[in-house]
């Protein structure tokens, strides 16, 4: 309770600011609509109103301010509108038995989740394999590590449109493949860098101890380096899954995609339905939250079982 209360207060404050911002954001289109349907608006004419600030408009048309909160295509929807849209395209459709229909956000989230998952799996495996190579080969360490670090400073998503076109040029029909490659690419480097420091985390004394036991290199890997790297692994997995989700969504943005949360955002943008964009954004946020929370739980359980509970905190 002591932890939850401040968070709830902050969330309530954010919702409050959002709700208050709706009026100034939407007042212009609200007044335009009201004037068209015959209400008296001061000053008259959309052109004249461009000269007046939104605050003055609100002060001079106090009766019409509530209209800002009931726009069909608002510049900024109210939290309530977003929640309604979200429920209409998820829960309500699921209750109807149409959870996997094309219009359902659950369907699009499922598409996005699949690509994210495969990309995450691919990127993580390659990252771990690369880290093992770097830790055990001095040449690989000197050649690859600087590039791995530099590549983290590069906006890799710029590659996304090209990978999609490349995939279609090569005749890969399945749209999930290029998206998964982009997510794999984005989560590869954080995992690689995290695992390298994890595999190197055992102290020299611990490595020496194994040497006095005349342990083989593979025993040293399985019994010391790999267990020691687990806390680092989970930390980088959490960064990696968030990056993989961003990769998939960006991969769905270029024109042509029709399925997935990114495509919903794009279609909402093109057809001028802001509520659809906002609902898709919330779905993406929930997806990210669920994935990170799941990894967080897995981390706690694993570390407790390994007797590393202190590292989990």
């Amino acid at each position: 309770m002591r932890k939850a209360l401040p968070v709830l207060v902050v969330l309530a404050a954010i919702l409050g600011i959002w709700w208050l911002a709706v009026a100034p954001m939407n007042i212009r289109i609200a007044l335009d609509g009201a004037e068209r349907s015959g209400a008296a608006v001061v000053p008259e004419g959309a052109r004249e109103r461009q000269e007046v600030s939104v605050w003055a408009l609100m002060a001079r048309n106090p009766d019409l301010v509530p209209l800002s909160y009931a726009q069909e295509r608002p510049r900024l929807p109210t939290p309530g509108q977003v929640a309604t849209e979200f429920w209409d395209t998820t829960g309500a459709m699921a209750l109807d038995g149409r959870a996997m229909s094309r219009r359902s956000l659950l369907f699009h989230a499922w598409i996005t989740l699949q690509s994210t998952f495969w990309g995450f799996l691919l990127g993580t495996s390659l990252g771990i394999a690369g880290a093992i190579g770097i830790v055990y080969s001095r040449t690989l360490n000197l050649s690859l590590m600087p590039w791995a670090i530099i590549s983290q400073t590069i906006p890799i998503v710029a590659l996304a449109p090209m990978i999609i076109v490349l995939a279609s040029q090569l005749g890969i029909e399945e749209r999930g493949v290029p998206k998964a490659i982009i997510s794999a690419y984005l989560c590869f480097f954080p995992v690689l860098v995290g695992m390298v420091s994890g595999l190197r985390s055992p102290a020299a004394a611990q490595l020496d101890l194994l040497r006095t036991y005349s342990a083989t290199p593979s025993q040293g890997f399985w019994k010391l380096r790999l267990p020691a790297s687990v806390p680092y692994l989970f930390a980088s997995l959490k960064v990696g899954i968030a990056a993989a989700l961003v990769g998939t969504i960006v991969g769905e943005l270029p024109t042509g995609a029709i399925r997935g949360l990114g495509a919903r955002i794009l279609i909402g943008d093109q057809f001028g339905t802001p509520l659809a964009i906002w609902a898709a954004l919330f779905m993406a946020a929930i997806l990210a939250g669920v994935l990170v929370t799941f990894l967080d739980l897995a981390q706690r359980v694993t570390l407790r079982r390994m007797g590393l509970a202190e590292a989990a905190r």
């Binding site: 001095r138 050649s143 590069i154 906006p155 998503v157 449109p161 955002i265 993406a284 990170v292």
Partner: protein, 282 residues
């Protein structure tokens, strides 16, 4: 086996051999080796790429050879410079400056209330993991097609990582040091300015460094949703559409260079500011 492939494989093997020698030689920890080995590795990769493209006669619409990319780069420096100005100098840098400044000021304001800090840290950490890039179309429709909307996307993207890191950094000064300031009868302002902000700098710079990459990503991706007829994201999506992949690679090279230099600059300033920190002491 054709000549280009043979040469490329030979170069790759030779470079790898030299790297193995260098990496296991007595002087392996010297600065020269640390610079030469990765450069040689990178060069070998590029030569291999060139050789493979020439040998298999890969269509330039799929993967252009590095030499073609280089020629395109030299031939279109004017376009690249205009795009660089639009995306990096106008969109990313201005957004970065505004976003980071606002985030640091917010962190200082929040820090006065322990209650707010406890509430905002989890929320900020959560938001930092979200795919914020998705708000780009909304901000483009709010702020128009020009750089203002790109800067707005960048502000939102860099805000939370910098905020969270700064708030954490401001807690860094320990009780002993704060007590010392109190015995000097230092005011809140003096304590903040002379003790807590300097102590927070390693954390602040950590956030600033994460934000450099985010700023470029935000500025580039936001251009996919509409931009004036210039900008790196705009050029990439247009060139992909017209299958001039060599120009895309040239833009990506510029983006990579800009990202590295931007990060390097922030890291350089960090070294100057946090000279007292153990990791920077000689």
């Amino acid at each position: 086996m054709t000549a280009p492939l043979f040469f490329a494989l030979l170069f790759w093997l030779a470079a790898w051999g030299v790297n193995v020698k260098l990496a296991n030689a007595p002087g392996r920890d010297s600065l020269g080796v640390r610079i030469v080995v990765p450069l040689l590795f990178g060069a070998a990769l590029i030569v291999l790429w060139e050789g493979l493209v020439r040998h298999f006669e890969v269509l330039p619409v799929i993967l252009p050879a590095p030499s073609v990319v280089w020629e395109t780069f030299l031939a279109s420096t004017e376009i690249l410079w205009v795009d660089f100005q639009q995306t990096v100098l106008k969109g990313a840098l201005r957004g970065y400056a505004i976003g980071c400044a606002v985030a640091v000021l917010c962190a200082i304001a929040i820090d006065r209330s322990a209650f707010l800090t406890r509430g905002l840290l989890p929320v900020g950490n959560f938001v930092a993991a979200l795919p914020i890039i998705g708000i780009a179309p909304i901000l483009v429709s709010w702020f128009g097609f020009d750089w203002q909307s790109k800067a707005a996307v960048v502000v939102v993207m860099v805000f939370f990582p910098v905020l969270v890191n700064t708030v954490q950094g401001l807690r860094e000064a320990d009780a002993m040091q704060r007590d010392l300031m109190r015995t000097y009868a230092a005011s809140y302002r003096q304590t903040l300015w002379k003790l807590r902000l300097p102590a927070a700098m390693p954390f602040v710079f950590n956030g600033l460094k994460i934000a450099t990459t985010l700023a470029l990503i935000g500025a580039i991706v936001a251009e996919y949703f509409g931009s004036p007829t210039r900008g790196m994201g705009f050029r990439i999506s247009i060139s992909v559409g017209s299958l001039s992949i060599d120009l895309v690679w040239a833009e990506i090279a510029v983006a990579a260079l800009a990202g590295t230099v931007f990060y390097g600059l922030v890291a350089f300033i960090e070294k100057r500011v946090t000279f007292w920190h153990p990791t920077n002491r000689k």
